[in-house]
Symmetry: none
Subunit: 227 residues, 4 copies
DNA sequence: CATGAATGAGTCTTCATTCAT
DNA sequence: GATGAATGAAGACTCATTCAT
């Protein structure tokens, strides 16, 4: 009775993996537990051994996704050798990386059908990620590099706005539109923090390394339509 | 003769009214057509005489809500006697008014359960309201009062961010938290447009006239729990 | 009170016309009275002024269709100047003509979805057309040109068999298959009546004048799929 | 382990049994899944555990019925020791036996209301049974006992015609009428194959052993009316 | 730990028919 | 004669969840 066997944990992860995949493809509401367990290849009852409700799967999934981001960030934030700007740049880079990778076919968390999951992630972003960012912003204010009266709330607004707007599961953007939105994001971040224009243009720089298939909503849509 | 009787139009509006109310209380998914028509006090078939699907009701509702806002704005925007700042102030004031009135009990469009409607409204906001704002912003840029390289995209981000963050159906905020978020919104708007600090503080001023029951998420929640 | 106005009869015929058209395209079950009256361009209530039930329309339609064939035949049958072979040839020719015209796009009575109507026509065929044919066959037996012990029953079987088999609404035949089935029909008719081989080959001769679009099930199917 | 439990298979068969019974009594369209499952004595959901749609039940039923006939026939057909006439006689006898047994109360597949099932069986007959018959006919042609230019098509027509005409679910025949139609069938089969008159009179011979309750439509009708 | 059969309330939707105006 | 709004029973189908084995 060590609590959970290895096999047991794997089983649970397998269910989560399959659930996430199906939620992305068909949406949460449209995915039945039957669908999940058939894909997993186990009996329906197994599901209820690992989870209590279908909703719990969604919660777990969202939490896992958020934690992945959070975990990476806290390390940076707690590093005493970095100044605010350095930390922020690292964090934004990281988030952007995760964000775009999410648009990738095999991990496309933001399908348009998937309103439920989407909203929960947005909420988690605001509630869990924004405070981390605001901590760094506060540090920057103290260091004299950033300037804002409402660090937390500004982070919340910017994070919510930027994420919603650049979600290729919601908006079917062309590459050009997408780039423009990212550049506007840079502009807003710079202005919100009161830093020099162009300081955060590394985001749009990163886009250049991003393959089309991740950034072009049409390509993504067509991919899913094929399935 | 005119195609639709007065009585008929009223009936349709009555259904819409009831539907909106129930969607707010129970959420879209959780509201059945049965629920709606029982409340209306008519046979289920009547629903399908006026609408083709449950989804159509949602669409109509969202459209009506957005149009209400749009209609008010276009008049202001097309007024040649106003400068960009004047227009923007008017529009923000108006939007804020509609927005908070929406939080009112009898017209509480943004219940947390109501993910579907919520998301559609957010999308409509970005797609329909942002372009109107950006038009005014462009005017301001020409007039030399505003400064931004991406008028449309900046409007999109700010609108999305501010709306999401200040939605009392999603976040259960205390009065203080709410005020802070509104103030941060002001800060961001000012910075995004490159205007002087404090130029748009009329928003938080308006809050002072807003009764608690609309602004305090706890009060709202308790109200619904009573039902 | 002359019973029925001219306008009234026209109205009724219009409804029947539209009903037949829609039954052919969508099938009887799938066509609602709403569909019919919307196409007619009159209020739903009008329908019930002219018919008592939806079923009555089907009955009327089948009867009209059968009567059209019957009327043409009785004239020939009662003509004392013709011998049995002459009569039969004429009748077959006529029936074949009506039959193929039915496969035509605008009068395609035998859509595959239209099981109900189809069966009723088959039954009517056996009950109303077979007796007429058998009368002629009996004449032929007396004249010594035909030979069979069960004139009525043989007519019933042949009519049922030939019609079912050559119904392009049921079977999706290629032109070749269709021709073969018609030729086999000739063979059976000749044998059943005990006449010389080739005596009734005029049926397949008639095919040569029939355009593909009527005879090729694929063309017909594609036509309907476009709608 | 084997995929399906014994009990599970039984359940499925039970549903099929009940469905067939109800379809016969009330017709396919008029039988609801509720009806079926209430009779089975299980929850509605059980139905959908075993079948995907109501239509699938019909398909399964038709297939089962046809296969029963086909299975018996292929054995005879593939027997190299029998000549065509022997095979044909055996097959006809067999089919007649199944056909009349179907008219029996407990297995009355052809109720007049049951247009859908009826048509599907007719189509299956033509598509699955006719080819088997035609194979034997071809053998007979080679052996010099039969004579026809279109073996397959002739089989199709005769099968369709004879079945339709002798279906007591469609036509309410008296015993005399029924016998006449069977005798006419014999005549047509003999003529179609070009064999000596009287060669296939064993069919009407078989009738003599058939009890009235199966052959007399009135008796059958009365039986159902009692229910 | 696993199975998979069973549950049954609940969903949206359809439509022939009626009837007051 | 005509209108078209209203009826409401009935239909097929879904699915999260339970539980005996």
């Amino acid at each position: 009775m060590t609590g959970k066997t290895n096999k047991s944990i794997e089983r649970k992860q397998e269910i989560l993996r399959v659930a996430q995949k199906l939620f992305n493809i068909k949406g949460f509401q449209e995915t039945s537990i039957n669908d999940i367990m058939k894909t997993v290849g186990a009996a329906k009852g197994v599901f209820y051994y690992y989870f209590e409700t279908k909703d719990q799967v969604l919660d777990t999934l969202v939490e896992q996704n958020i934690n992945e981001i959070v975990d990476g960030m806290v390390q940076v934030v707690s590093n005493p050798d970095l100044n605010a700007t350095q930390k922020l740049k690292y964090m934004l880079r990281e988030e952007f990386r995760v964000s775009t990778s999410r648009n990738d076919f095999n991990n496309h968390l933001h399908n348009i059908k998937n309103v439920d999951m989407h909203q929960r992630i947005m909420v988690s972003m605001v509630e869990k990620i924004a405070p981390i960012f605001s901590q760094v912003v506060k540090q920057g204010v103290l260091e004299g590099t950033f300037k804002t009266e409402y660090p937390l709330e500004v982070c919340e607004i910017v994070i919510a706005g930027v994420h919603f707007i650049s979600d290729l599961g919601i908006f079917h953007l062309s590459r050009e539109q997408y780039i423009k939105r990212i550049k506007a994001s840079e502009e807003i971040i710079e202005k919100a923090l009161g830093v020099e224009e162009g300081s955060f243009n590394f985001l749009s720089e990163m886009l250049k390394e991003t393959p089309d298939r991740i950034m072009d909503a049409k390509a993504i849509k067509e991919h899913y339509d094929e399935i």
